[in-house]
Symmetry: C2
Subunit: 358 residues, 2 copies
DNA sequence: ATGAAAGCGCTAACAC
DNA sequence: GTGTTAGCGCTTTCAT
């Protein structure tokens, strides 16, 4: 037996304890309209089977009472569900929350894309070391698919999830031997564009800031290395700074690096926040940006244009990203095979690494 | 009749079309374990009634098959639901999406608070002119309560929602004749602290940037006006700039204002983003910050420390905000009366309006 | 055109 | 200790 409801009587009965609002159900509407629940159900779903006048009356009654259908029950009956889980990994070790504006923008973009298509979005976080836990939303029937923001260090877990036929799309880079569907910016291109621009400015000692254990960063470093090779320059491992995306940890790493090495004249950073932190560390050491050191960020977050100096950065297509992620997931749900997708990026020129040496 | 399921046969039957993963149910586990569904249900819920050995066996089977309970069905049966809707209004007219880092941080903070307490978060957006639509999540049974980020211009709609006994908490300011539960920073104090600090620096012509149609801004302006009065200064309506939070619209307004008026030496802004835009407009007009004009922001977003100059700003308690909002909502769900809550704020001193005139 | 009744996946009171 | 059974709120077939 279900836990005895407080009162199954119609709301019109003497329910003096007005403390909690009992949720209206179809049976209430039916009683008030003097018809059966079936008729209410049909009327509310706009069935042609029900008399136009009755349909009108029921619809108006429902609206005036602010009634709306219990979607849980409806989904159960219809075996349908329009909820998508969006999962943002966090770093459990450093207890850092998602705060990078880029991730948050992506979430907003996905929310829009889902809303436009009539889907609901369940937002949650998961330990970046246990991306596989994101599958719980599907397994529990709460969501029909999962969008994961970032691959982090667990390509393997993602492949396992895909092997289980979990409807899954991941924001991130396209890797060899990838079973899951990823959507992301062209990271190699991004790394190349940034580095080439710095070379063109005449910079020759170019540092790279980002943790190459992360697939996206790894790809960007490939682009960076490639551009250096094109220019006949060697990669100097000493100029690679494995700073994570979390500002708390990155700040220290960057301060130490900038204090130790003064033999570079440009930096490619893997996020705009890292670029900001780098600029601050450089200035603390008495170096100017872009004068002494030119700095390029990554993401083109909304605020990038309003920093000082405004950041030259690799623009990621955030608005399109939400749409692409959602469409890729919906394709899978339709039974289609969704191929990984790499979206174009471009360099947005601003002051931190200007068009030409000023 | 339900729409005929593809195949009700157990997964072990010859279901060659491996295209879609049929979701496992209790009956499948029951069959494989050779017990009834009730026993599986009890085992999975850790009931003492079931034989320890059986419980173990069932649990292991379920785990190995990656089975997990269909929460929709469970909720329906248990008349319980642990989903909270978090609704972020957007400006439909300017088609601006949530991009203010502050709102996004609040969302993250709420996500954490809900996760910690075992609740799920449904994230959606709503036209800022129709905040009442947020009630749909409750009415449809998808969520048991609603957290709304910001009051915008519709105090009235919020009061109506509360009058309907909708479990609701709103991030925002405490207003007279308020029926709903709000949680927010102390806006009057924020406005006062910022203005007092500028006065203490010797500034006398202090502008105010923010749209006072929004309750929070209105309260901050009260604090601003009060501080001016304390100092024996009159409020100059010409120094009030009704810039909205959307950067796209605000930029133009601020550029125009800074071009027109050059008779102020300080600005109190209602967000850090507005502060950044103001600084940019000032510099475009050849004025220095904080030399010619000191600027104070609001929110203390994560990036505020990394701007140039680093922003002096009113710190809002984001991490605590999520907890307070969630606790207030849960209190209502327990049938308790949740009072509006105003949280302390403080001034974070940085370079854009330094401790003392440098 | 409308109503009665079955059943979506699950839980819990009630048998045994 | 375990199985049987009713029913959460809804949709739809079937009967009228």
């Amino acid at each position: 037996m279900p836990p005895m409801p407080k009162s199954k009587a119609s709301p019109s009965s003497t329910d003096t304890s007005t403390s909690e609002q009992r949720r209206l159900q179809m049976v209430d509407i039916a009683r008030l309209a003097g018809v059966s629940v079936s008729t209410v159900s049909r009327a509310l779903n706009g069935s042609e089977l029900v008399n136009a006048e009755t349909r009108q009356r029921v619809a108006e009654l429902a609206r005036s009472l602010n009634y709306s259908i219990n979607l849980g029950a409806r989904n159960l009956r219809l075996q349908e569900n329009r909820t998508i889980a969006v999962v943002v990994p966090y770093d459990a070790k450093s207890r850092q929350h998602i705060s990078d504006p880029f991730f948050l923008s992506i979430v907003g973009s996905i929310a829009d894309a889902l809303t436009d298509r009539g889907y609901d979005m369940l937002l949650s976080r998961v330990d970046a070391e246990r991306l596989d836990l994101a599958a719980g939303w599907f397994d529990s029937g709460k969501a029909i698919g999962v969008v994961l923001i970032g691959q982090w260090r667990h390509h393997d877990q993602l492949n396992e999830m895909a092997a289980r036929k979990l409807p899954l799309v991941v924001w991130g880079g396209e890797l060899p031997q990838q079973l899951y569907c990823s959507v992301g910016g062209d990271n190699v291109l991004g790394g190349t564009l940034a580095t080439r621009h710095l070379l063109q400015l005449g910079r020759r000692r170019i540092a790279f800031v980002g943790d190459a254990h992360l697939p996206e960063v790894w790809l960007r470093r490939q682009g960076y290395a490639q551009a250096l090779r094109e220019a006949g320059l060697a990669v100097d491992a000493g100029l690679e700074v494995a700073a994570p995306f979390e500002p708390g940890v990155a700040t220290g790493v960057l301060q130490q690096f900038c204090a130790m090495r003064r033999d570079f004249d440009a930096v490619v950073c893997c996020s705009d926040v890292l670029a900001l932190l780098t600029i601050q560390a450089l200035r603390a050491g008495g170096r100017s940006v872009p004068g002494d050191v030119a700095v390029i960020g990554y993401d083109d977050m909304p605020l990038a244009a309003y920093c000082e100096p405004p950041l030259t950065t690799v623009h990621q297509p955030v608005a399109e990203a939400g749409i692409e992620l959602v469409e890729a997931l919906l394709a899978q749900l339709r039974g289609q095979r969704a191929e990984p997708r790499t979206m174009p990026v471009y360099l947005k020129l601003r002051e931190s690494a200007p068009q030409t040496e000023g």
